[in-house]
């Protein structure tokens, strides 16, 4: 057999011309791979540092006073000094966010499933989901808080309204995108509605759903902040919205930015967590998560 004869793996150096081309290619490939594996961590960091330096320079060059745009150093200092207040507030906002996201997922997926079960049901009720999405929270918040006595439930409802639509919309799309051959197969094997949903449509919808979830993650955070605004939680036990509001009224802008940075960082962390989740769930089979050669 051929391989026994050709045991010298790093093979013969024939035809130097040809050889060199391959070598250059291989070397380039190796180099690219090396750069990539380093870049994977350093580049984002470098960009982060650059962004911060740029922010700092912009402040200095344009002589921007700290009550308009504080320099990053000052924000970092504030973040450090005010950590106890800020992180307590963050925790509260985070709680609302996570609860809202959870409810958004349950509500969004639940509605999507209902909608795909019956076209007529979908046609009748989808518009109201859209209505919920486009209604300015600020305008209907009084109504919500009038009839829902628990502030927490009211806030959850507000954040949910903001966050649920992407989950609903993407999941519906996904449920309808199941491969038609597989759908036929399920029909033939006499799958019940529920089985088709469970074993075919839900897995097919997963990538779409996870996409919607990543959008909803950010929206839930915004929703939580907006909900705090309209619920007007003052005093102890209040979240980041309160901090931003009051600090900006008092022109304690460094603290506003510290709070904003916390929100932004939280958003990024939520996004990365959801991306990781998505990767873990899809890496075995979906195009978007598969590592491919070349």
């Amino acid at each position: 057999m051929a391989e026994t004869r050709m045991a010298e793996t790093e093979a013969p150096k024939t035809r130097p011309g040809t050889k060199r081309i391959i070598d250059r290619e291989e070397a380039a490939r190796a180099r690219r791979r090396r750069i990539e594996s380093i870049g994977r961590w350093t580049l984002p960091l470098v960009v982060l540092v650059l962004m911060i330096v740029l922010w700092d320079r912009i402040c200095v060059w344009n002589d921007i006073p700290k009550y308009i745009l504080p320099r990053p150093g000052l924000v970092a200092e504030t973040l450090w000094n005010d950590a106890p207040i800020l992180f307590k507030a963050l925790l509260i906002t985070l709680r609302t966010t996570i609860l809202a996201l959870l409810v958004a997922v349950i509500g969004g997926v639940g509605l999507a499933v209902l909608f795909t079960q019956s076209k007529l049901f979908e046609m009748s009720f989808y518009p109201y989901a859209v209505v919920l999405q486009v209604t300015p929270i600020v305008a209907i918040a009084p109504l919500i808080f009038i009839y829902i006595s628990s502030k927490i439930v009211g806030m959850l409802l507000c954040a949910w309204i903001v966050a649920f639509f992407p989950v609903l919309s993407n999941t519906t799309l996904g449920l309808n995108s199941a491969d038609h051959n597989l759908r036929d197969l399920f029909n033939i094997y006499g799958a019940t509605r529920w089985q088709r949903l469970r074993y075919l449509q839900l897995p097919s919808a997963l990538p779409y759903f996870l996409g919607g979830l990543r959008i909803a993650g950010g929206l839930a955070l915004i929703g939580a902040v907006v909900a705090e605004y309209v619920a007007g939680t003052g005093g102890v036990g209040s979240g980041l919205a309160f901090t931003i509001l009051e600090s900006s009224y008092r022109l304690n802008i460094p603290r506003v930015f510290a709070a904003l940075i916390l929100i932004a960082a939280t958003g990024v962390v939520i996004f990365m967590a959801l991306s990781l989740l998505s990767h873990l769930l899809l890496r075995k089979w979906h195009e978007s998560a598969l590592k491919r050669e070349s």
Partner: protein, 276 residues
Amino acid sequence: MSLEGTDVAATDAVTKGGATNEDGTSEGAPLLTLSDVSKVFNGDLVALNGMSLQVRAGDFVSLLGPSGCGKSTALRLIAGLSHPTSGKIDWTGGQGAGDLGVVFQEPTLMPWATVAQNVWLPWRLRGKSYASVKDKVLEALALVGLEKFAGSYPRELSGGMKMRVSIARSLVTNPRLILMDEPFAALDEITRHKLNNDLLALRAKIGCTIIFVTHSVFESVFLSNRIVVMAARPGRVIHEVAVDAPYPRDEEFRTSSAYAAHCRAASDALHDAIGD
């Protein structure tokens, strides 16, 4: 009552439908009857034109014909995946939605499930846990030579392996009726022969009815007792070749002169269908 009388006569005509010799091997009760079934796509593409066919329990019917002649369409109609534009498909004994195994022309595997999970599917849809049917799943996989790949995902398989998973899935429940659309096209001849034999053995064991689409004249002759030859544009039945060799058939049959004669007949019919 006179009405009923005419009907029976008409049905008989259907039974003897197609062009040629209905033979003795078709002894079972009528299972399903296609009466003048047509299928038109997009209003003008006649995929199937007035197909009539009666399949009896225990039949092994092969559909043979050029690409695009409506074989898959006919199978889909029988499977109830699509409705005839005109004509009727009658099931006797309400078998319609019942105990069916199917192999599509494409492997049609769930990309998110392992090979074993894919084969488990028909059982799963009948509410069986994996543990309770694990033996059957592995047995079916062994039949197609994939027991070592039970834990692989479809994307890790070669084309022929995917198709074999699909075949294993169609057999795992020992169904009474199996529809197969070119199941062995992606396999080498030796594996193909082996699976042909296995399929016949299975058929002998569980006594199932099989409707089988193939491009191979040899395969159709070796496997079936009836070969329905179709022509394209519009898709229609133009011949029916009865293969009256008794079952069980084995490798010996492949070398018999009867086999060669049948092959010639089927091949001629196919040439006829292609019109050259």
